[in-house]
């Protein structure tokens, strides 16, 4: 089994050479991790209050997504799965758009068509995943080929979970990427579970990193709760891809502390002792210890940052609570470049009934035909 890369152990002990990051940058990354946790907490509260429909949290996985994505450049792409929303925010997705997406309201850039936790941000090259596990993997590979053909300096980081390694998309994506030698990095976030199926039931391979060798690419196994190990390993993989040496697989070994989503009750299938074990490996606490020991963070500063982040997210939530109603024409828009006549007719039939019942807003009226 490839050695687990760890730079800071759970006790805060430094084990290897740390990446060269300024104190300010280190603190920034800490704030990004905290924002993920605070945001997840707030989203769960909103879900329980019935304000939003669904939440898939990243609690326990903050170092994996923030540490790895921090090694990307602005021109790089991030192909996401369910839990990379925090990385999107770090890379430029406005928090207001994040929350609008969770509300699926009229401010959502995807016009409320996707369920919650399906973020996108074109400006930072972050397409949303569909929901269909593993399909983004070959997309990232094809997009990497396009970047390569145009001679762009863009690396495509393709994120997916342990469960997704069983999908057809994983196989095709890994195989094509290695054959074509595209500038891609496959990031497998092994959080121990695919809903109720454990990572050990998902594969008989000794580790997820083993899968890479069959496709002819190198792999690294990283302690996914060690922010700097995630960063350093990803940085090396991205540099390799950028220099034309081809794709590689980075496996981030972490743990999903909460249920799969707000609709899941994990007590049915997993042992609380396992969760407790991972609680002692909390990625934020570990990095906090390191920052405190190196005087990058002061005692009590975490609480202050959290309070600021909470105020920030609450302000955004407050704004998004009062969005306009969704325009009904969004029902038939974006199916094609132009709304075809048959859809205009279907809409017109529909709006006639809706108007009669007082359900339509100004602007919702029939299409001229």
């Amino acid at each position: 089994m490839p050695q687990l890369i760890q730079l800071i152990d759970p006790q805060g002990q430094v084990l290897g050479e740390l990446p060269d990051l300024s104190a300010d940058r280190l603190k920034e990354l800490f704030v990004h991790m905290l924002r993920v946790r605070v945001t997840d907490g707030r989203m769960l509260t909103l879900q329980r209050a019935g304000r939003i429909g669904f939440v898939g949290t990243s609690t326990g996985m903050e170092a994996s997504q923030i540490g790895s994505a921090a090694a990307l450049q602005p021109q790089d792409w991030l192909w996401s799965g369910l839990r990379e929303g925090g990385a999107a925010v770090m890379r430029g997705l406005p928090l207001s758009e994040y929350v609008a997406q969770m509300y699926c309201n009229a401010n959502d850039t995807a016009k409320g068509r996707q369920m919650c936790n399906h973020f996108q941000h074109k400006g930072s090259h972050y397409p949303s995943w569909s929901s269909v596990i593993g399909t983004q993997i070959p997309h990232g590979v094809g997009a990497a080929l396009a970047s390569q053909r145009r001679g762009e300096d863009a690396v495509h980081a393709i994120y997916f979970g342990d469960g997704a390694t069983s999908s057809n998309g994983f196989h095709s994506g890994m195989n094509f990427a290695a054959v074509w030698k595209v500038p891609a990095v496959f990031v497998c976030v092994n959080n121990g579970w695919a809903i109720s199926v454990s990572a050990k039931q998902q594969t008989a391979a000794e580790s997820y990193a083993h899968k890479a060798s069959a496709y002819g690419m190198p792999a690294a196994r990283v302690d996914g709760n060690d922010l700097l190990a995630c960063y350093a390993t990803m940085q090396a993989a991205v540099a390799r891809a950028r220099s034309g040496e081809g794709p590689s697989l980075v496996v981030l070994e972490t743990y999903r502390m909460m249920g799969h989503s707000s609709s899941d009750d994990p007590s049915k299938y997993r042992d609380e002792a396992e969760v407790e074990h991972w609680r002692t490996r909390d990625p934020i606490a570990r990095f906090e210890q390191y920052l405190l020991a190196n005087q990058i963070l002061e005692d009590g500063e975490r609480a202050t940052i959290e309070a600021t982040l909470t105020a920030e997210i609450d302000r955004v939530i407050h704004e998004q609570e009062s969005a306009d109603p969704m325009a009904l024409k969004t029902l038939v828009e974006d199916v094609y470049a132009d709304v075809p006549n048959h859809l205009k007719r279907q809409y017109n039939d529909f709006i006639e009934v809706a108007e009669r019942h007082g359900d339509a807003q100004p602007g919702d009226g029939a299409f001229p035909l």
Binding site: R113, S130, S166, V197, Q201, K268
Partner: protein
């Protein structure tokens, strides 16, 4: 008699089948200790062990592909696709393999198996947790396609599907999983595949529907009755093979037909019903056939209540057809 919800009836049907026949296996994603994301398989691993009810890796292609091999070699797989939206990675195995094994082997090999899957909207699941893809499969010769709408039918049709010598796609309307409780007999019983169900008698308009649309149509029919329009409501419940004779009789009785489904309209199942009526008994028709369906678009999230045919859109069509 116990009263069960539709999903409890499915669960009960699975247990009855597994108790009766050791070769029945249940598998899929999260169907084991978790009991399925909707709890259709709750308690099966506890009762039958993980040799008979087990979780698989995350591959629909793997689930259906291995089920075909099991079925061809003496087991009775009843596999689950977690959401019908995720069946497409298995489309090849269903369409090219399960549906054609008997034909291409001259009947030497067969795939008696059931693929259970929740379909349809109503849970705010957006594009990929809401679709009604029945028409992709009713276009596939060699497959049977069954959609129950009541707890009684869910159990009886499921047991008939498991006993059937051919592959059956068993689509469960997730919006009706916990819609109501109804009497469901204990033990084994079956509801014949290929028979429709008269939901309500009426002489003025015939409304064909199935699955999640049945209660919507019933409500619209009640409203119509208040205006003196009496609807005959027909639950098709087995889409393939269809009870064609039953459809024609029901349509001829009133000469006025509305077809309702939540799937998109174009090449949807309603097109087949309309065509069968037009081809065979157009001379009995008093009005053009009306379809009330989902839009010819992907499934939205926030506006799903507008996408889904509701009572008033159905009522509107009934009135129009009645007046014609």
């Amino acid at each position: 008699m116990p009263t069960l919800t539709l999903i409890q009836a499915v669960n009960d049907g699975l247990k009855v089948a597994m108790r009766q026949d050791e070769s029945v296996l249940v598998f899929g994603e999260d169907v084991g200790p978790k009991g399925g994301v909707f709890l259709a398989t709750e308690g099966l691993t506890a009762e039958f062990g993980k040799e008979r009810c087990f979780d698989t890796p995350l591959s629909e292609d793997g689930i259906v592909g291995t089920a075909i091999g099991m079925a061809a070699n003496g087991l009775r797989p009843v596999c689950e696709i977690q959401f019908q939206d995720f069946i497409f990675p298995a489309f090849d195995q269903i369409v090219s393999e399960a549906a054609k094994l008997r034909y291409r082997s001259g009947g030497q090999y067969t795939a008696p198996m059931v693929i259970r899957t929740p379909y349809g909207g109503g849970i705010r699941g957006g594009l990929y947790h809401s679709q009604s893809g029945e028409a992709y499969f009713t276009h596939t010769a060699g497959l049977k396609v069954v959609i129950p709408s009541t707890p009684y039918d869910a159990k009886g049709l499921l047991l008939a599907s498991i006993a059937d010598p051919d592959p059956v796609l068993f689509m469960e309307p997730k919006a009706l999983y916990r819609h109501l409780k109804a009497d469901v007999p204990e033990g084994h019983y079956t509801v014949d595949l290929s028979t429709l169900r008269q939901v309500r008698e009426g002489d003025d308009v015939t409304v064909f529907c199935y699955g999640s649309m049945v209660p919507v149509v019933e409500k619209a029919a009640n409203k119509a009755a208040e205006q003196g329009i009496h609807c005959q409501v027909v639950d098709l419940r087995t889409l393939l093979p269809l009870d064609e004779q039953g459809v024609l009789e029901a349509a001829r009785k009133t000469g006025r037909v509305v077809v309702v489904h939540e799937a998109p309209r174009f090449c949807g199942y309603g097109a087949e019903i309309s065509a069968i009526i037009a081809e065979n008994i157009i001379e009995y028709m008093e009005a053009p056939i009306r379809r009330v369906t989902g839009f010819d678009t992907p499934f939205p999230n926030t506006l799903e209540h507008h996408y889904l045919p509701d009572e008033r859109r159905v009522l509107d069509a009934i009135e129009e057809v009645a007046k014609y």
